[in-house]
């Protein structure tokens, strides 16, 4: 009975992977506006070369994209020379494109020439606050240990980020919080923080007249934008990518970022780029809202449905084991409980480096499956444990075999509890599946993340409302299912 169960789960997961393995060029982008825009440009360019292109937006940080590229889940993504040197190669080499190309070749990864702009990290403040404290340079920060800093999580953790910077400049600021990049700008403008990290090409700097603090000790390396691509990608696709080389200076990039943030639409930024270089964006295919919503919803349902099915198939037998007294049952309940305590984002990040998973929907399904286990296992075990002793005695003395007892008596009696577990699991998964977009698995999380990036409430709601509706619908659906699945004798009230 166990082997077919496992085989079924594997088949489900493979099906999820197979749906993803067609002959399209997949591009990735990091979770910030400029990266979205660059990949959108690359998408247009490669599409024009005759390929079908899929853009996985906002897949998270450098390491996730690098792993995805190495595993072949994506064919290319935009990155910066300083980041490649510091975060990927972790070697103090001169970040010339040529040197990087030599180093990266051993991983089967190629680098385009510079796209034309340098987008380095910077620390920014509002002009009012900077004037008030007369801060112009990063070294001025050490005179004001009372400053409140809101830094992105990536910047806090990087080798060229806050820790080493503090070492170099010798500042002793303690009030440092991790804040999302886009939300950090809001916090800065509202005066909730004094300093934040920024990319020098952020449109927000110009828009809000922010002061970029001078890197007087020359701490930040150069971050020249390039595309990383797989050397085994189709040569015509690589060629199309390389057409973007040297076409973007800083002013132009700032402008494109601004368009993206104003129009809340990355493809319109791409339109602007191609208009400027004389190619009318006639291949721009703006998807209607209904179509997008349907695509997100279907993908979301697939993520939740497959993971829930696997959790049911595995969770109920585990719950049956766990209902018995003893050591193994403690281990089962302990482990499934432990999985639940790992934050969902961390679980995704932990699963990505595992072979055969990587950056693809299957990884999200595995993560959701693991999350879905606990309610089902626990409720199955509790439902079985709560069966009254006189019922157990009666079933035993009647001379029914253990398997028949389980199937005909104990499981039907535990069915209300088991169904409640499945319901909890489904609703948790509908919520958690929105995080799947971070590893490019799509679903209703796509508009939520892209909306967070653009600080656009409408876009966030495009994902959040359908997700909430789906959770309520699931609740209703299970109430109806209860009536059909729970034996009638258990639903009656005493006369």
């Amino acid at each position: 009975m166990k082997t077919p169960t496992i085989a079924m789960v594997v088949a489900l997961l493979l099906a999820a992977c197979a749906a993803d393995a067609s002959e399209v060029i997949v591009l990735g982008s990091k979770k910030f506006t400029e990266s979205f825009v660059l990949s959108e440009l690359a998408k247009r360019s490669v599409e024009e070369a005759g390929f079908h292109v899929e853009h996985r937006q906002g897949m998270g940080g450098t390491i996730i994209l690098w792993e995805a590229l190495r595993q072949g889940s994506i064919a290319a993504y935009p990155d910066y020379t300083g980041t490649i040197q510091e975060e990927i190669l972790k070697r103090p080499i001169a970040p010339s494109v040529r040197a990087l190309r030599q180093q990266l070749a051993q991983y089967g990864v190629g680098v385009t020439e510079e796209l034309g702009f340098n987008n380095t990290y910077a620390l920014v403040m509002t002009r009012v606050r900077a004037n008030q404290l007369s801060i112009q340079k990063i070294s001025d920060l050490s005179k004001h240990p009372e400053l409140r800093l809101g830094l992105t999580h990536e910047f806090l953790g990087r080798r060229d980020g806050w820790g080493p910077l503090q070492g170099r400049y010798g500042s002793k600021i303690l009030n440092v919080r991790g804040v999302d990049h886009t939300l950090g700008y809001l916090a800065l403008l509202n005066g909730e923080i004094d300093v934040k990290d920024a990319y020098t090409t952020d449109a927000k700097i110009d828009e809000n007249d922010l002061v970029v603090l001078v890197d007087d000790l020359r701490f930040f390396p150069l971050y020249r934008a390039v595309f990383l691509f797989r050397l085994d990608a189709p040569p015509r696709a690589i060629q199309a990518l390389r057409r973007l080389e040297g076409t973007l200076d800083e002013a132009r990039m700032v402008h494109l970022n601004k368009i993206a943030e104003l129009t809340k639409d990355y493809s319109s930024a791409a339109d602007s780029y191609f208009k400027q270089i004389g190619q009318v964006g006639n291949f721009s295919r703006s998807e209607s809202f209904e179509h997008r919503l349907a695509r997100w919803t279907v993908r979301h349902l697939i993520l939740v449905g497959l993971s829930l099915a696997a959790a049911i198939v595995v969770g109920i037998p585990l719950g049956i084991y766990a209902s018995r007294e003893g050591f193994i049952s403690e281990i089962i309940l302990g482990l499934t409980g432990l999985i639940q305590t790992v934050p969902s984002l961390a679980l995704l990040a932990l699963l990505v480096p595992i072979p055969f998973l990587g950056i693809r929907p299957a990884t999200a399904i595995v993560a959701l499956f693991l999350y879905g286990l606990l309610p089902i296992v626990r409720n199955t075990a509790t439902g079985l444990r709560n069966i009254p002793p006189q019922i157990r005695d009666a079933a035993e003395v009647l001379g029914l075999k253990p398997r028949i007892r389980l199937l005909k008596i104990f499981l039907p009696l535990a069915s209300p509890s088991i169904l409640a577990g499945i319901k909890t699991s489904a609703i948790i998964n509908i919520g958690s599946a929105t995080l799947a977009a971070l590893i490019g698995a799509g679903g209703l999380g796509e508009p939520i993340i892209s909306g967070l990036n653009l600080n656009d409430k409408t876009t966030i709601l495009e994902g959040a409302i359908p997700a909430a509706v789906m959770a309520i619908a699931a609740q209703g659906l299970f109430s109806i299912l209860d009536r059909f699945i729970i034996p009638r004798g258990l639903q009656l009230r005493p006369a």
């Binding site: 009666a394 003395v397 029914l400 008596i409 009638r488 004798g489 009656l492 006369a495």
Partner: protein
Amino acid sequence: MIRFHNAGKSFGSTVALQPTDLQIPANKTTVLIGLSGSGKSTILRLISGLLEPTTGWIEINGKKLTRASLLEFRRRMGYVIQSGDLFPHLTARRNILLVAQELRLGIDEMTARVKELCALTRFPSTLLDRYPVELSGGEQRRVSLIRALMLKPDMLLLDEPMGALDPMVRAGLLGDLKSLFERLNTTVVMVTHDLVEAARLGDWVVLLNAGRIVQQGPFAEFSLCPAEPFVSEFFHAQMEVVQS
């Protein structure tokens, strides 16, 4: 015939039944009586194999009761307890037929047997398709009896079958049990704490106290020649409750 050979049961340091020798006669009704915790239910649970003795062994019809032979013995046992032993998710009929269906008995045979048992226990067959929750306490006990008797058992074990019923229902069921036991002519072992039940139903009465048999014999002997002061105390206490 059921024989206990020095059979006893302890849970850790708590003795539920001291090592006991006991013979339960075949085709008679034996009533085990005593206060709660006296060990009377333990005897019944040892016979049904729900408990294993910690000392000695038990013999049924000349064969030793072991874990391996348990299933075979159980198919020849009927077991009824105080309440809540019916499967709530099955109708009365499906409760009754569950084991017979597992054994793939013929439908005609099963239908005839159910009809016969409904008459014997005075259970209206129109109620067979109700769920346990839709039946009264007395009706539930009758269904439990029919279920226990379905496979024509060699012995019928009853653990306080009337314990949870109100007095009116109880009086009715008591009379029905009396005539049922007479007509079945099978080995019946019944646990109760009620003297009236013991007097009316028991061919042989076994009085227990604190895990030990105090006296056994026909009911009349208990008041005529009590074996020790506890016997008289037990009888008088119950009579006082009845009179007050």
